[in-house]
């Protein structure tokens, strides 16, 4: 606990979000505020969740960090650079909700794809892909095609591919929401293990309170209409986290605290 506090105060900010706002135009040409006035600092190596119901702008916020969405107000700096500069330097890996695998490529070739964009040699790519597949436990499936894998395995490939480029930051957009409960729990443990081992900064979007509390150092609660940051809850559960922690009173109290921090009361 104390050690965690110490590191948190000592480590520099990796991602700095200032007064961020995104306004869309709907079909009628009217302005819709997706998110407004978001301020958030994320430390290096921190695991932060963006939690909220649909329409709260959590994915929009993540996409702004990834340079997939242009903010209309405020700015984002990652390691002192703009999101575009960070993207061009391959400093972040993005894990989409759907695995987005290429079905004509084998699992290994899918993991190699981003490395091809970085002009790595064939041997470098192959070695890196093997290493990543070993980390997610799919070594035996390297030469399978994506449609021969289960949903959970496909999502592991997706994570392996994002980590293959050695990013500093992992941006994850509801990566486990389409999976069944058992697979999800297994992947939670795997993700935490990988995170501990690689020491990445993770920004994780979810609409599942238990998932956010179990995984994160901090849970950022967003509320809709307009999307805004309504609370930030520190999760001081010890690490490494295990599945039986979900049964402890401390865990349940934190879940309750997060739930009550939604503006307008409970999470509907």
């Amino acid at each position: 606990m104390n050690a965690a506090e110490y590191t948190r105060n000592d480590v520099p900010d990796e991602i700095v979000i200032r007064d961020l706002g995104v306004t869309f135009q709907d079909n009628k040409g009217e302005d819709v505020q997706a998110i407004t006035g978001v301020n958030l600092n994320i430390k290096k190596g921190e695991f932060v969740s963006l939690l909220g119901p649909s329409g709260c702008g959590k994915t929009t916020l993540l996409r702004c960090v990834a340079d997939l969405q242009e903010p209309t107000d405020g700015d984002i700096h990652v390691e002192g650079m703009t999101p575009k500069e960070v993207r061009l330097q391959h400093k972040f890996g993005f894990v989409f909700q759907s695995p987005v695998l290429f079905d004509w490529r084998t699992v290994k070739k899918n993991v190699e794809l981003p490395l091809e964009m970085m002009y790595q040699t064939k041997q470098q790519r192959s070695e890196r892909a093997d290493e990543m597949l070993e980390m997610v436990g799919l070594t035996n499936f390297a030469n399978h095609f994506p449609n021969q894998l289960s949903g959970g395995m496909q999502q592991r490939v997706n994570i392996a591919r994002a980590l293959g480029i050695r990013p500093d930051i992992l941006l994850m957009d509801e990566p486990f929401s389409a999976l069944d409960e058992f697979t999800k729990e297994k992947l939670h443990e795997d993700l935490l293990r990988i995170w501990r081992k690689t020491n990445k900064t993770i920004l994780f979007v979810t609409h599942n309170i238990q998932e956010a509390v179990f995984l994160s150092d901090r849970v950022c609660v967003l509320s809709p209409h307009p999307g805004r940051l309504s609370a930030v809850v520190d999760i001081d559960l010890p690490r490494p986290r295990t599945l039986d922690m979900k049964e402890t009173p401390a865990f349940n109290q934190l879940v309750l605290k997060v739930r009550n921090s939604f503006e307008g009361g409970s999470f509907s």
Partner: protein, 301 residues
Amino acid sequence: MRKKHLALTEKKWFQILFWAVLVIAAWEIGATAVAMTKRTPENILPHLYQILAAAFSGKAVSGGMTASGVVLTSAGATLLRALGGFAIGAGLGFLLALAMKLSGLVEKLIFPYLMLIQLIPVLGLAPIILAITGDINRSRLVIAAILSFYPVAANTLAGFKAVSKDKYDLMFTYAAKKRQLYTKVLIPSAIPYLFTGLKIAAPMAITASILVDTLQGDGGLGCMLSQSLKHAMSIYVFWLIVFFSAFIGIFSTYLISWIEILVYPEKRSAAGIGRSAGKEKKYGRSTEKNRTQKEPGPETL
């Protein structure tokens, strides 16, 4: 017992046998009925054994060649031109689809009018094209190319458009160049659609080539068809050519399916042997169905 029947109807060889028996029975009933009316020349619908006998008889029917010899030599000229026209049409179709994908302007200018090509009775224009090109072989090429062009262009474009937004986003996060987006994502994604187009186009190119033959007595399959109908040869030769043409039309589609399996690794894995082969095949079939449902169905336009 019932389960056993169902299992039998699932078998490919059983389905083929079922249809073969049905068609042969219908044909023979028809042939007998025609023979009984005695008002038409009796062998306008000959019995199948008579056609088979003609195919294997050594008797010369035209220019010292046997019936099978006539069919095979005339098929050579027709098929070669059909293949040439098909290759040109398919190549241009693919390039046009690529151009339409690359440029919104090209798409807006061309795509709405592309289907007009399908509405023009190209085969009706065959005599004009023959007059313009002045050569039966060149007009076979041109007409086969025009007919192959549309299904390939429309299906390939549909393939480019079916690439999900997630894939573009993913490539964007990798800071992929436009060329990389095309070579690594868009073109490979469009390949199954391209093959759908090729499967439609191949028999059309062959049909077109045969029909163009009928315009000039230069010894193609179509030319032999009209000659045999005019009783220069026997009616058996006519039916031999009909069966042979039908066979090569069907065969061309299968040939393209085989090529697809060779070039597209996903298909290869689905057709592959092994423990999971059966399961994978089923999966492959269902995605095929989804794909055709999702498509706007350009070939029906």
